[in-house]
Symmetry: C5
Subunit: 360 residues, 5 copies
């Protein structure tokens, strides 16, 4: 039951999209929200206007202003609103399709009439401690950035705060810096994930040493799967950030490009850390297998010591349990004591043998 | 018997082609159909003509029209018809050979006098749940697309429907978009395969945890082989789509090229998913091996516990089964009860020992 | 004995060449033939002349004609003749050295004064079912192709037949097509090898499932070695064919280059198949190891079941075999039957336990 | 306890930086020093001035001189001083952030107004024999080199001595050579680390052969982790040095570039050695696993020999311990001796069998 | 003892060099020779002068002649002489440092004022059958080649002989050909090493099949280490030879470049062979592990067969060894014989069971 539930979540509903004409917007995720709220921030160095719009028209009205505009739409379920908003900045139907296709990998593309379209992934552990991947799309055009989020798990609060600070760097820069700031907030979050993952690996390692149990393999595999998930998000993300750093997009200023270079350094650091974790997990698997072998070795040694000592002795007592009429030893006065002495000698010889073999 | 049957299928009949001059068309597959039907769709934004021709001449007659023409030939067994049809659009004998060589890998080539020749692979699970690879060739020239299919397992129905819709995108575009639409339908199908494969992996994983049996290795290997098959189809396919996206083929419009870029994204997604599955299958193998080791460990522990407890006790009772005349203990009033107490103490000491070792 | 014989064959006699000045022709193979026969085919679309020459002079006389000439020399033991023949078309001493150095890897080089020098490898299974690698060199200059073969195991019969056919393609083409045709015949042969190897792998796989024996590892290793051998031949061969396909050699016509592209496709297919086989062999090794573990598990289970059932019972009967004077149970009327019932209960409890643990 | 302590150290405090605006300087390391000392060396071929400044102003005063100036700041805890000093040579806030971010990987960047910014890593084993990574930043501009060190573990003494020697090469060269000399001192230290690591591997190897114990896997894993750490430092360092060797930085003279090429050779040698160690550690793991298997084999053999010899004999003596009224053998005069002879024969036959099987 | 000796040899004395200024010549090897002999060959097509000089001045005197000069210095211990000789042809101090740094990897560099500096490695098995790596440096300038060898183990005899032959190729060529000839002699030697290594692998393989013992893992690891050593020498050597073949060094004639291309082919062949050996050694390790498992399986089977047959029988005889007063079977006339028959039936049933399970 728990299993089939887990499965239902893991399998992406990509069959929903099979056979549809290209450009058909189909939300394949499973986070359905009811209400549409489009958050708009319109700011200049002098001031900020903030409005939570409920219709696309309200939001689009801000785009024409000279101020920098950030439009944030939560909930990819609102396909119609996304389409309307996207078309207002000249997005191609194929790009709109990708905004709601939560299985799409991170990428960067130019808009048909200038501007950039970026897809990236936010990672977080939910309350059930599962690694969740959230699909985020960004559109940057002129003095506007539009962000589309699957979920309201909000890494963007930090951006809101910084926009509200009158002396903040963000207020004195153009929309290209806003694009950077949003991507920076997303990628900063990867470091938290890596810290959690690193802790999990260390806990597992300690368990492996101090209290190895059978189900540790399952946990190692689980962490390996999380590493795989993160790698699938971060490698294409590196290409996206690398493109912003290297390519000469006319709408990105030289000054902002320096910030993207800094962001690129961070993605590389994420990648190096995740690769280290990957190697450590392989090492844990090796440690586990050798600990299983060692445990078996110890079990076998106990059995062998006991059996090897007592089987011959049991044979001896068996001999004198035979009922032959003519068994002279049985009639010796000290026969019984002699047998005990012989058995003691054998016992001690065995102990010495095991000692020398370092089994004891 | 079942085995030799399976083998007969798996081995490709490539020896059939050894020693033949290049350009000799030899159908090396095993799907022999009797009747030749060449399906023709001739369409403009205004209307569609559909005809199922039985001779190549009938089909070729449509090529000269100004409308976009789609010619679909089912059954690679009809070597003569394929040759005739291919030559009518200027295919090279070497290309015709590849149309019927079902072992040929996906590729893209230019026709000698303009136009493109594309080979790709359709994948599906048949009724016996085996992964079947179907060989598909496409020829695109001027306002015509010709498709050659090995089988009538038909992923193309979706195309037929979309051609028939008067307002459909496809009707308002040129033949380059038709080429895209056909390739898109084929690649969309890969996602269904991946979903099935993903389900199989999860079922296997659950079995591994809740009910591990000896034959799971065979099933893991079987899935590994399916992964290998898909990889062999999708990697060259990526090169084909990448070429259509990047190269400046004069006959592909800028607008259609955007669609090929979208298709390229899909092939990358297929590749990333298949690589994830590959890693998961390796992980399953590791889990299986460690579960086998753990099971053996548990078997050994049961044996060791029983043997270690009872072998010494059996020795003790053996001692008092000896028939020496002079064995004082035998005559003690409480000798029998003392032995029982001694044995009980040994038994409890052993239990304590195993408890402390966490074997119980 | 069999072993040392095998070894004698496997080790190449490369020490023969150590210390010799470069350009010294040394045949390091072990196929010594007695008689020199130089086969010459001189053909135009109109007719063919065939002659088996016994001296190099006779053969060289044909080179000056306007007709296409194919000179085929069997037996690399005839070092002098090879030198003389090679020098007549302007081969460098270093190239002549490579013709007789059967350990040399496939490569392509230009001749000093125009023309091409190609080394490739023919593979076949001999009567003892061993994979044999034959060293073949081709020289193409103007309207001449010279082939040097180590062995007369003849894959070239197919070429002879096609030259003799008046309507054959080969007769109507230049020497560059003859070069292609010879290379094509050699590479076609790889598919036969792959089929045999594929059969061997499947037989091994069936054995692994239905009748696993200890020596299967040796057979898996043997096939791995064969895969290694084929890879060492085919990867450099791909470079050779790729060079002929891509480079603009003035002496290769555009038309013939298409045929080399087709040949390139074939080498890729060989490579993909051999890589698949490689992965399958690794999979077989995994299956073998897990089958060994499973067998051990089953052996252990049998032992544990028997021992765990009978060791406690044997203890019980041992108890009542003791000779204490005062053992009340021995005098009970039904003591013997009660013991049997107790033992039966223990026996059934054990059976139930093993059943629940799925060991039975 | 020991464990949680170790963990506290291993986990980097990267969460400290999450959510901060880019360019915020945050020292994430754990080495807090109290006093600020900025060491300045100002030298020409003629003479040296050395001063330990306590304020940034004092140090900056030297920069304007014509002499070569080396400014060395210990302790990344002094964030304000670092910022002030960095800004005096035109460092970007993002670069200042990297100076104190001890998790940052090695890199090279140009300063905004000419000059170079280099990050590298010093490695050393501390007293507890743990591999410590120290974060070092270098800024080179005009005739000045500034170095920022996390720690005062000082590899730079060698530089101080060489600056003080009137005839030393360093005194007669420009600041680009000083940059080289500092980097050379750091990379030279890697060879000491490699020697220590190599010794550890050899000790482990000897232990594995002469005294294998269960905890060796833990030690192998520990060394693997050290190898991973070194690789993460040296690979990006190679890129840094490679850039200095190949790129045409105007401020690096042709003569000094030769020295950087030499340094590049050294980094390659470090990499090759570390890769060799990596392979050796994998080999050790294999050796360990096979030694565990061999030990188990030997344990099993002892058990099997003892059990196989005595179990049948115990059966025999059991037979003649039965109490049937009618057992003729019991009354034979020599019955007892005959049984002994039979048992001796069985015993010898078993010994012979084990001898032949090479178990003894 | 033997171990610490071995260790002393294996660890390179790289700490000797740490902290020294760059360009300091330090011989870190352990071959100290007493006498300095500088061998000089001065030759033209007409004649040869040979002189064993004891001072550098004597040797340098030959360099100015028009004849080709080969100067060969044995013993890297003679640091002063090497420095003097090197400076006479314009070597940089950093290059002189590399001549005596026996840990330096193969490389090629240009001299400051024209000419080439090459480092390579000679491999040989010493009397103790250990793989020794000798450090060799070559300087080629104008009509001079200088060679610096660590050891007098002389692969260069072949060069001396060829120089002395009046009709030899070498006498009629320039110094660039002499450079080739020396490198060719060194690389030819690799083939001998590979033959020895190949023999060792085959011997090991036979042992594994016919007489597997516990210490074979140690031998496999030893060969793996030798493979690692050879790889570390040959891969950079390939780069060196590839550079000589491809780059347009003005001092290397087109004719000689052909010879370097031939040499390049040889290095590739060495690499392919060593990679094959590497894969074979991994295969041997797999074979060893599976042979260990099979042996354990067989041990377990013997134990299980014996125990499974005799434990139940021993129980039965135990039953009739009980001393109950009321045991009717004991008084049956044929009770004893019936028990024997029952036991025989059980014995045969067991045998049949094991036969069917293929354990016998
Ligand atoms: Mg790894
Ligand atoms: Mg790795
Ligand atoms: Mg690793
Ligand atoms: Mg790995
Ligand atoms: Mg791996
Ligand atoms: Mg992988
Ligand atoms: Mg993988
Ligand atoms: Mg993996
Ligand atoms: Mg891996
Ligand atoms: Mg893998
Ligand atoms: Mg692997
Ligand atoms: Mg593979
Ligand atoms: Mg593989
Ligand atoms: Mg694989
Ligand atoms: Mg592989
Ligand atoms: Mg693999
Ligand atoms: Mg592998
Ligand atoms: Mg490795
Ligand atoms: Mg490696
Ligand atoms: Mg490795
Ligand atoms: Mg390796
Ligand atoms: Mg490896
Ligand atoms: Mg590895
Ligand atoms: Mg590896
Ligand atoms: Mg492995
Ligand atoms: Mg390999
Ligand atoms: Mg491999
Ligand atoms: Mg390998
Ligand atoms: Mg391999
Ligand atoms: Mg390998
Ligand atoms: Mg490997």
């Amino acid at each position: 039951m728990a299993t089939s539930k887990k499965r239902a979540k893991r399998i992406s509903k990509s069959h929903k999209k099979v056979g549809l004409p290209p450009g058909t917007m189909t939300y394949v995720g499973n986070k359905e929200s009811s209400e549409l709220i489009i958050e708009v921030y319109n700011y200049t160095p002098e001031g900020v206007t903030h409005k939570d719009c409920t219709t696309v028209e309200d939001a689009v009205a801000f785009l024409a202003t000279d101020a920098v505009t950030w439009v944030n739409l939560n909930g990819l379920f609102h396909v119609k609103a996304i389409e309307e908003l996207g078309k207002s900045v000249g997005m191609h139907p194929l790009q709109l399709e990708d905004v709601v296709n939560v299985n799409h990998r991170p990428k960067i593309e130019e808009l048909t009439k200038g501007g950039l379209f970026v897809i990236l992934k936010m990672l977080y552990y939910n309350e059930a401690n599962e690694l969740i991947i959230e699909h985020i799309s960004l559109v940057f055009k002129d003095n506007t950035v539009i962000s589309f989020q699957e979920d309201d798990k909000d890494v963007f609060d930090i951006i809101r705060q910084r926009i509200k600070e009158p002396r903040g760097v963000i207020r004195n820069k153009q929309a290209d810096y806003l694009l950077f700031a949003i991507m920076d907030a997303v990628i900063d979050h990867y470091f938290l994930i890596l810290e959690t993952l690193g802790d999990k690996i260390e806990v597992l390692e300690d368990q492996l040493i101090y209290n190895p149990t059978d189900n540790l393999v399952g946990e190692i595999q689980q962490l390996k799967r999380e590493v795989l998930k993160i790698r699938r998000s971060i490698y294409p993300l590196r290409e996206v950030v690398g493109n912003l750093e290297k390519a000469e997009h006319p709408s990105i200023s030289d000054d902002t490009q320096k910030y993207f270079r800094d962001l690129y350094d961070h993605t590389i650091q994420v990648i190096e850390t995740i690769e280290t974790y990957r190697d450590m997990l392989w090492g844990l698997m090796d440690m586990y297998m050798s600990s299983v072998s060692n445990k078996m070795n110890n079990v076998m040694k106990v059995l062998t010591i006991i059996a090897t000592i007592f089987i011959p002795l049991t044979f001896i007592v068996g001999v004198y349990g035979m009922n032959f009429e003519n068994m002279p030893e049985l009639h010796y006065q000290n026969g019984y004591y002699i047998v005990w002495i012989v058995m003691l000698v054998i016992f001690l010889a065995m102990l010495y043998y095991f000692k020398r073999k370092k089994w004891l």
